[in-house]
Symmetry: C2
Subunit: 335 residues, 2 copies
């Protein structure tokens, strides 16, 4: 496995003692597994679809490369989540305790997040060093990381601004950067790179519908944070407690609430703990004002927006299927 491969020589190359080597292996096992692996599989699927659209069957080597890059996104996501859970003081993730909450881990989780980040680049070096597109891969991972960090900054700054600044526009900006680039654009872009696509305009054409999809995906995530049972979610939703600029809140606060409901949000949003009466009341307000319906309308609208990109994608020489397969998956999740 990749974990073995990228840790086995650390005893000699980096003089790492057995305990620290075991720490890194256990830390990787704990954090890179147990997810739905959507992003990793997207790399493989988009790569396959594009290569077939070029009139050839993916080789063993293509499939190996796509699988490695798929794992690289999963590892990227792993460190993003380790750091995010620490910053958000989250309790659980994927149905287990957050890594930093484990005894003996705590603040070491921060260094662990940085370590996983560098291990991704070590994997890339090992597998792609001699490829002509190696620098492009590095560039893609680094640019996407930076975009995600900009999104995290926008998200984290919400603690320093007032609720009146939690606008729909701000929400959209946050989620585009903190989620859409790494979760939707990056997997497809990596598939394109392995398929040998070089012209920037093809990457641009794919990016637009994928970002719309990614933004919708986060709306779904925000919706589920409030309304999905914790067993389904794999964690306890804390967006209300954490004063998150979520899709539900921005609609409620600026568009749909009565003055009394808005006053209740002003008084309790971001101040009430998870599962208190106040938090439940906020969720009840969300239901009363018809956010369920508004969410369904938004879902349909974003679906149609994506479909409108079909000709642009095809004209860029890409098979529409690379968008369609993920479209089906994402829009099935909530139904």
């Amino acid at each position: 496995s990749l974990i073995k491969e990228c840790t086995q020589d650390l005893s000699t190359s980096h003089e790492l003692p057995p305990m620290e080597k075991k720490w890194i292996i256990d830390m990787l096992e704990y954090n890179v597994k147990g997810g739905k692996m959507n992003r990793g599989l997207m790399v493989v699927q988009s790569g396959e679809v594009i290569i077939r659209s070029q009139g050839r069957e993916p080789s063993e080597d293509d499939l190996k490369k796509l699988a490695v890059l798929g794992w690289c996104i999963e590892w990227l996501q792993a460190w993003l989540l380790v750091a995010d859970d620490f910053m958000d003081s989250s309790q659980t993730r994927r149905g287990q305790l957050c890594w930093y909450k484990k005894e003996g881990v705590e603040e070491i989780a921060i260094n662990d997040a940085f370590l996983i980040e560098m291990l991704v680049y070590r994997v890339l070096k090992r597998h792609f060093w001699t490829e002509p597109y190696y620098v492009d891969l590095l560039d893609l991972f680094m640019e996407t990381t930076f975009q995600t960090e900009c999104g995290q900054l926008l998200d984290l700054q919400c603690k320093n601004i007032g609720l009146e600044d939690f606008t729909y526009k701000r929400w959209e900006l946050i989620v585009k950067y903190k989620t859409a680039f790494y979760s939707f654009y990056l997997p497809v872009a990596l598939g394109m790179a392995v398929a040998g696509i070089k012209n920037q305009s093809a990457y641009d054409a794919a990016r637009e519908p994928l970002l719309v999809m990614g933004v919708y995906f986060q709306a779904q995530d925000d919706y589920l944070d409030a309304f999905a049972p914790p067993e389904t979610l794999g964690k306890i939703g804390t967006d209300i407690q954490d004063k998150k600029c979520g899709w539900l809140f921005v609609q409620a606060y600026h568009d749909l609430c009565t003055p009394e409901q808005k006053a209740f949000l002003d008084e309790h949003y971001g101040k009430c703990k998870v599962q208190t009466e106040e938090e439940k009341k906020i969720k009840a307000i969300y239901e009363e004002i018809g956010l369920q319906k508004k969410y369904e309308d938004y879902e349909q609208k974003s679906f149609q927006d994506i479909m409108a990109y079909q000709s642009q994608v095809v004209e860029a020489g890409l098979p529409w299927e690379i968008i369609e397969i993920f479209l089906k998956k994402v829009y099935k999740r909530s139904k």
Copy 2:
């Protein structure tokens, strides 16, 4: 300035609102300035010395490139320290409050550390994208980062092991990785890269004495943490409170203490707060057992060890001066 250069286009390229752009600028100003800039200056000086040893005068372009790389190390150090201070729960740094201790920052400091890390790669891309050694620069920064993170892991794991495992060998391993690579080898290696040096053996020859110097440098840092006044140190030394595997402790515990002194260390090391009677007593023990003298002996020995590398460095085609200038600075610091 570099800060302006790498933030000015974020409003458009990354749709960053004014508040977040200002945050990044302020955050950089706060964390990359105010240091002694030793590492940054080392890049410029080693580059100049090597280029002159090649029989030419450094061009404007050489000097510009060396200065940019110098700042890149300072920025690398900035994010390492932002993250380190958070993980160590430190209070002050360079005579001011640690970044994460500022009101409104707290956990955002973690994302800020990741942001600075990526900004370094954006600076490298902007200035070196077309250079034949661009990938080598990326590789050098990434490998050094990984080494430093391994060192941090070794350091942080000290909270999970017993004092009997705080050996001199472990101390040496920790500091070689967490300090010596990025503080001593990286600056010289960057100077060599700009000077056009390509053969790996020259880098290997330079690395050995520089790592010895870096290890001594950290011994000095550990020594000063206990014995330098906070005004000189720019922060309050917390190594005893933090149960650090420091140069003073490993000597004391395993070699120099009486059973009674050792028992006192067992009882209070890593458990007493800064400036309590117990912490002062531990420092008094360090003095009683003659650690001052032992430190001076170690200083002299490491100095001689470095001098013994002279022929090896010269045979690799490098001017001995690149070692000597830093040797003089580092060994002057404590006198």
